[in-house]
Symmetry: D2
Subunit: 347 residues, 4 copies
């Protein structure tokens, strides 16, 4: 089969022929129709410090995908819950089920997580094998949308954690694809005010199309003054920090109201100076770090939002490329002109 492979340590990737993977007893073999390209894939392409410390080439890349089941292992088949021909997507974190986080429902921070496209072969290929327990059927959801439920799920996890979003004033700091998804999810979940902030006008425009009541440019707008005005002086109930920048952290801590909450997903590449006294302790603030998706509460809410039409990711999807044009896909992500980029593999 054709697959996008990180062949060896160093920048770049290569499209090449590799064997179709074998389907174990509890596994399903999926023909990949669409896959999403993520910032993580850019790090892997560029072979940055994180990538070189974690990946062991050769490896098939890609962790966001959807497609169609073409084979089931005998145990997966006898369970009778999935069938050949089912359109499906899958959670890309394969977890141990035995560690303390797994045993207490925090599968998303399993101590032995193996992530497809990072720790084991991924989804930028014609076929992928997944454990049946990670696979979910796409009832009432298009296969293309299924391919980006991984990052939509990041947004759902970020917006819903702490259960404060109904009626809330929400600030989304950073309007990359997951930030823009967070805007729409916050609207679907009943936020009363959704403000989005980004330096990039293209991204602010997408955030607006996803339902942001107000978009702010931190270089031009007086963000604290605008938030004060928009919330009648109450401040922001829930900040979704999606930028990973110290300046985003500063916006977040400044904006969050006493008793409020920051759910932080944007992954920083360096440390941030925090004034815990002023910004956390005296405010009675809660800060939560978002990894992956809650398995599988996040998927349930997301599926229902998509199926009921409460959330539509379409405005975020700006580019589609065939697998062979991965360099172009990486390019539009890198230059900031893209929202979400999709690879059309086997549709």
């Amino acid at each position: 089969m054709r697959a996008l492979v990180k062949q060896s340590a160093g920048p770049g990737m290569v499209v090449k022929d590799v064997p179709v993977p074998a389907c174990g007893l509890n596994d399903v073999l999926i023909k990949v129709h669409f896959a999403g390209v993520c910032g993580t894939d850019l790090h892997i392409w560029e072979w940055d410090a994180w990538a070189s410390g974690r990946l062991k080439p050769p490896l098939i890349i890609g962790h966001e995908f959807a497609g169609e089941i073409v084979e089931l292992g005998s145990d997966a088949a006898s369970a009778g819950l999935l069938a050949v021909g089912d359109r499906v997507t899958a959670e890309g974190h394969i977890v141990c089920g035995h560690c303390l986080p797994c045993r207490t429902g925090d599968f998303h921070v399993c101590r032995r997580t193996s992530i497809i496209g990072v720790d084991r072969d991924g989804a930028f290929a014609e076929f992928i094998v997944m454990p049946a327990s990670n696979v979910m059927r796409l009832e009432g959801i298009s296969t293309e949308t299924g391919a980006i439920m991984d990052p939509i799920g990041n947004a759902v996890h970020t917006v819903l954690e702490g259960q404060v979003v109904a009626g809330a004033a929400v600030l989304v700091v950073g309007c990359g694809p997951i930030g823009c998804f967070a805007v729409g999810i916050a609207r679907a979940a009943g936020a009363s005010l959704v403000v989005a902030s980004d330096l990039n006008p293209t991204r602010r425009a997408i955030a607006e199309r996803m339902g942001a009541h107000v978009v702010l440019d931190p270089t031009g707008d007086d963000v604290p003054a605008r938030l004060h005005e928009l919330t009648g002086g109450d401040g922001i109930d829930l900040v979704c920090e999606m930028s990973g920048h110290p300046s985003g952290h500063a916006q977040a801590f400044q904006a969050a109201r006493p008793g409020g909450r920051i759910n932080m997903l944007g992954t920083p590449s360096r440390t941030t100076e925090v004034d815990f006294a002023r910004d956390v302790i005296f405010k009675g603030l809660t800060v939560y770090g978002v990894t992956g998706r809650r398995m599988y509460q996040t998927w349930q809410v997301m599926s229902r939002f998509l199926r009921a039409g409460q959330f539509d990711p379409a405005p975020v999807v700006t580019h589609r490329f065939p697998l062979e044009r991965i360099a172009d896909a990486i390019g539009v992500i890198k230059d900031g002109s893209a929202g979400k980029v999709i690879l059309e593999i086997g549709a």
Copy 2:
């Protein structure tokens, strides 16, 4: 009446005669028997940056106390819930009841809080006036213990927030009086392992007497290695950060397990570098800032722990002084030789 007064901007305080305060319609007048001396009082004595920015002398100092009701305003009397002669203590945060935090149950971060001994006259005096709604009767609790329920309540808030303590592995970083109280509260609330860490051997000894299973000296012990061993590699479920030091923050972030929690009460005097990617996001961690006491859930649990004998603060109380010897009280706090220091005022 005799009272300890911050007479003017600058270091020190003075014991002097002042008028007994007037008791409003919804107020009660309390004869103070005992009062607790807090680190905050040390800041006020020394007139540090925080104190000079917040206090408006002249002001009676002190916010931890207990005593006996000697007069009730007419509305407080007609409510029939308190009576002359009742032994009582009181929550020292007087809140507005109308701001967003108050309207959502987060009275402890009320935007218009007025704190006794900081923003209005306090408890280092023969009498104090308090709103009836802040006053609680000491049924089955000694008056001396009643005088330190403010800081015990800080510990209760820190240990119970997030509801993870039953069966948990708890690390208390910093064994000042509130840290030592937190050790005992964690034991009372069903923690399975309580580890306490402090540089000061006197404080470690108090933490041990309060029930710490293990005490560690971060200068001599390999804290991460010991925690790894004590938790079978699982890590700490709940860190109570009571030190306010960047080195304490480092211990806390290092110790907290994936999916774990840091409840942070120690007030730093400077900023801390935080690696949000490694220490918060990839760990799926929750960090919560502790201010005051939950009004009044904290007080309920605390009262019951004290009344049922599940928690005894006695080992923490190391010194008692009459009001006139405030300088000595401040001295033993400053030199680190004290646990909790109590002023005997009108017993």
Copy 3:
């Protein structure tokens, strides 16, 4: 002033002149513009067992209202949070603040609650006095809508308790005014499927206008079969039981899925046979009894939903009468032809 008074034990009420109430130190005097008529007022009119056991005539009736502040007590005035001329509504439960439920944030089940129009003079009058802490300003909300925030708040409390509504399949059993409000609140808070059930076609029509995806008639429709089909066999996540009938309870217990929740507000006049094994224990179900409104979390979310236009009660308001036509107002409620009925008093 003109007021609607329950003059003595027995059916009926009378409009008569009574003195304007005196405004205490912590009180505000409100000129009433609009008031809502509630099923409770019908019970009082008819002097049923509940009413005769609880009310002590003579008493001014009515507990749902909004209007304008015309006077403040001196303490209320000096707090500076309310002013003459403010358009306001108020929580009608006046609570003690000292009992265990009050001290643990459950003010709505205060052991010494005094309810306006039931335990003390109410709102069907030109003026009413309320404690300032119970009063809320109507920013961005019409005064007429303000007059029915009490029952809208019942619906908010019912829909939000347990925090499961985002993405949920919700069944509202009983489409009286509060049931119809619950339909709209569930939509505003992100429910993915809202089904409403009632025998009365007028009420079903209102529920549909409030946003119910599907309305069912339990006499004509096979409710279990339809719910099975609508939820793909998963069952209902959250049942809002608003009917108070044993047949409504049966619908609720049948519909709720394993791990689901029933929030029960409809007040039964008799007992119900419950099969706890089949319907609660083996299902791992949660049943919660809804009284009043969470003070004041419910009011915050409600205010924001109204202000942001996420929820509009207009389709439920079917009748408006002047105070003098109270008999007509009671009549349309009794014959089932009404949604919500409003008294125009001093607009």
Copy 4:
């Protein structure tokens, strides 16, 4: 191997030789050392309505056990988390992982649960095969105690659900083995008052040995009056209903305070009349039905309580029999003279 088999429809069971079960790829084969006899086993022995409706003989009975791993399937072995020789116990609910309850963390009410000893071969045998994911190692816990972690876990689930036990006044209605375990778990988790109620003096004596502050006999004691006195009029925060009797339900609803909680585990054999208005709605009560154990939060807390010595089930274990004397084991359960009964199988 020797096994206790329900050979055919009708009362009784028989000890006979059957083949050792085969160990699948993801399974482990366990040599059973000890097993617990449960009320459920009595129902199966007697072949009551529930048993005849659910079981499909022939079937090996028994669902509470512990022992030693003697073989691992190849996938279970390669995971490296369990090994031959490990002393283990196991969760007896084998769940699908795909249904809505499983996907939202409520595995204990999985729609396709298969329970050992009920739906598939059980543990009253020399060997049993279990999926590796259901198996937990007994570090620091005796094998005999491991054999009764299933019912101890029922008690942990009952006591901890709702997170209200720290500082709480708890009433345990019904002092069978799980009720007695609940007494000890409530003490371990920081309850301030634990009252236990049962008609049977033997059971009350065990409850006392497990740490009940007070035991009551509902036939001789005025339970409401005693609870009023013991709680200073506040009422019970958490009722653990373990009796399954309408009279137990009546005690529970009467005892629970406004804003309180009933966690209900005792399985009734008939319906109960409930006054929802008085007992649930006006009280703002929460009622939760307890099935099984939260997978696996319950097991984590339980393991830690046992390992730390916070909870000791020893006083509850009253009888031990070899497998062949199952009739005697059933007899002492049936006549009410037993606490927990253990079968010694392969120790």
